[in-house]
């Protein structure tokens, strides 16, 4: 029953995402065609033609119906700047973002959880103070500024633009090395910011377990401190932390937008930047629907995962 509720809630959220995407870009002051063609030499006839092409000349409820039905078919409309279907444009950019976000999240989770556990276990130690202090400071650092700073400090050590050089040998190994080389700075930027959050979450999660009676029992059995931590405290404390990793997926998305903009990483984040500088409303609407939808799905996964990992929750 709870499981059905979870899926129903996620489905409702997805519908709300779709509705939000529609109304945000329709019920705004001004004519979208006028804003999109601003600064370009267009006649009134051309604007009218565009309006007809995008279906903006029809009544709102009709537009909404067309929008919903085409959305279900995976049709997100046509991009004004790329002159191609939005879905295609987005699909082209998914790979680089998954590579960047995946690498960064994996490193950030492992490093953040490890730092958080060590900091909490020796509360108020020098290690704890430094970790908490650095994490709080990193939390205050704007992602894009950190990226620019890394770029300036490392100089020519790492490439700072794009994902691969044009003159790299076409064989797989050289290509992989080239992409890896380009990946260093953007993923480092993303790791620094996200990792701080995970460390703080893991730390407070473990601190809540610290005075639990079962730890006293484990110690009374004569277990070494190390074993009490590894076998008893951490497995319990890591559950909420892992769920939070999924829940804070939106944070990673936000970080990806600015990181990709700074390093011209050819993913969805850079596409976001292109869409808003256009402005290309249909592309932006598609990106909003796709990223928000992905976040909703990640949250559903977090819920299900929590249920599997922690029998006490009892979802499955």
């Amino acid at each position: 029953m709870r499981l059905a509720g979870r899926f129903g809630g996620a489905a409702l959220s997805l519908l709300m995402v779709a509705v939000l995407g529609f109304f945000l870009f329709r019920v705004v002051p001004g004519d979208p065609v006028v804003s999109m063609t601003r600064g370009r030499p267009v006649t009134a006839e051309m604007q009218a033609a565009l309006r007809a092409q995008f279906g903006l000349d029809r009544p709102l409820h009709e537009q909404f119906w067309t929008y919903l039905t085409s959305l279900l078919r995976g049709d997100l409309g046509t991009s004004f700047t790329f002159r191609r279907p939005v879905a295609e444009v987005i699909l082209d950019r998914v790979g680089p973002t998954v590579l960047l976000v995946g690498t960064a999240t994996l490193i950030a989770v492992l490093l953040g959880l490890w730092l958080g556990v060590r900091a909490a276990w020796r509360r108020d130690s020098a290690f704890d103070r430094v970790t908490t202090g650095v994490s709080l400071t990193l939390w205050a650092v704007p992602t894009f500024w950190l990226g620019m700073l890394l770029m300036m400090v490392t100089g020519d050590l790492f490439p700072s633009r794009g994902m691969r050089d044009t003159d790299t040998a076409p064989d797989l190994l050289s290509q992989a090395l080239d992409v890896g080389h380009h990946l260093v700075l953007p993923s480092l930027t993303l790791v620094a910011v996200v990792c701080a959050e995970y460390a703080l979450v893991m730390r407070s999660s473990l601190l809540e377990e610290m005075h639990a009676p079962y730890l006293t029992t484990a110690r009374a059995k004569g277990l070494r401190d190390d074993l009490v931590r590894r076998r008893h405290a951490v497995p319990n404390a890591v559950l909420p932390a892992i769920t939070l990793v999924f829940l804070r997926f939106g944070l990673v998305v936000a970080g990806a937008i600015t990181t990709e903009t700074v390093f011209s990483w050819p993913g969805l984040g850079l596409l976001f930047h292109d869409a808003l500088t256009g402005p290309d409303y249909f592309l932006l609407q598609g990106l909003l629907v796709v990223t928000a939808g992905a976040v909703v799905v990640m949250n559903l996964l977090a819920d299900l995962l929590h249920g599997v990992l922690d029998p006490r929750v009892g979802v499955v």
């Binding site: 409702l12 705004v28 939390w139 205050a140 894009f144 620019m148 770029m151 939106g250 937008i257 930047h273």
Partner: protein, 288 residues
């Protein structure tokens, strides 16, 4: 013990308890300095000095005599830009936080106090916005609305309220389950009485802590939107300076004097708000 009691029973009162947190005090001092700069800057900086068409200094000058933080790509003094930008960053951060915490408190109290369909729907909407990445929504909002300070404030305020709403709702439910609220109801206290006399006083300290932390994230959000080129083009802010730095190639030019100060200022002010918030949190919710 309610949270309001906790404040009063603190050692030497709330002020004394706050002063015991050294990092919080350091944050408060940093904020006082920033506020002073923000107020004084417009009074002392001549308009000519920040007008791109009237500056006479050379572009990309490193720090030295005359321009102790160097000049930007148009020859304006970075030090003066920094001072002028302080006001914008603080103003947007504070107003956006007030808007966000205001909406959040309203939604939290309403969905916590009133049961039924309305509360259920409100909770559903809160959870929906809690999940969505606020920055993405803020970007979409500031793209469709006309550029300006008001748009930035609206975009941040309208997208960052759900966490406050969740927290306020939880506190409202906790308070309303207590016997003295039941007694107030039994004696004929209506909604206005229960909310005004019991719920709000217990929610306010938490909301204040939350507001302080909200200002910190609002300032980061402002700088991010400005960096993406969505800020008010007529105003100088720290984020807008970094937008210019990116646009005009401060990194390839090795113009560290144009890149470091705005970022450091953001970090210091955001960290200051965070530290003050954490100290207030420790005062408001004493360790059990």
């Amino acid at each position: 013990m309610s949270f309001a009691d906790g404040v009063r029973t603190g050692r030497g009162g709330a002020a004394g308890a706050f002063l015991a947190h050294r990092t919080g005090v350091a944050g408060a001092v940093a904020l006082a300095v920033a506020a002073l700069v923000a107020v004084l800057a417009p009074l002392f900086i001549p308009a000519d000095a920040l007008d791109v068409t009237r500056v006479t200094a050379q572009a990309w000058q490193p720090p030295g005599a005359g321009h102790w933080l160097g000049t930007d790509h148009t020859g304006r003094s970075v030090a003066l830009l920094m001072a002028q930008g302080t006001g914008t960053s603080l103003f947007v951060g504070l107003t956006a936080a007030v808007l966000s915490v205001g909406i959040g408190t309203f939604a939290g109290v309403v969905s916590g106090h009133f049961g039924g369909l309305l509360a259920g729907a409100l909770l559903r909407v809160t959870d929906f916005f809690l999940v969505l990445p606020a920055l993405v929504l803020a970007i979409a909002l500031s793209t469709v609305l006309p550029r300006g300070l008001g748009t930035i404030i609206l975009a941040i305020g309208l997208t960052s309220w759900p966490s406050t709403a969740r927290m306020v709702r939880a506190q409202t439910l906790t308070i309303e389950a207590r016997p003295f609220v039941e007694r107030a109801r039994a004696l004929g206290g209506g909604h206005a009485h229960v909310i005004g006399r019991h719920v709000l006083p217990s929610v306010v300290p938490l909301v204040l802590v939350n507001a302080t932390l909200s200002v910190a994230s609002a300032i980061v959000a402002e700088s991010t939107l400005a960096f993406l080129g969505l800020g008010d083009p007529t105003r100088i802010s720290w984020g807008a300076m970094l937008h210019q730095a990116q646009l005009h190639g401060a990194v390839p030019q090795r113009a560290w004097w144009f890149l470091l100060p705005p970022g450091l200022a953001i970090v210091v002010v955001v960290l200051a708000f965070t530290l003050v918030g954490r100290a207030l949190e420790a005062v408001v919710t004493p360790k059990r």
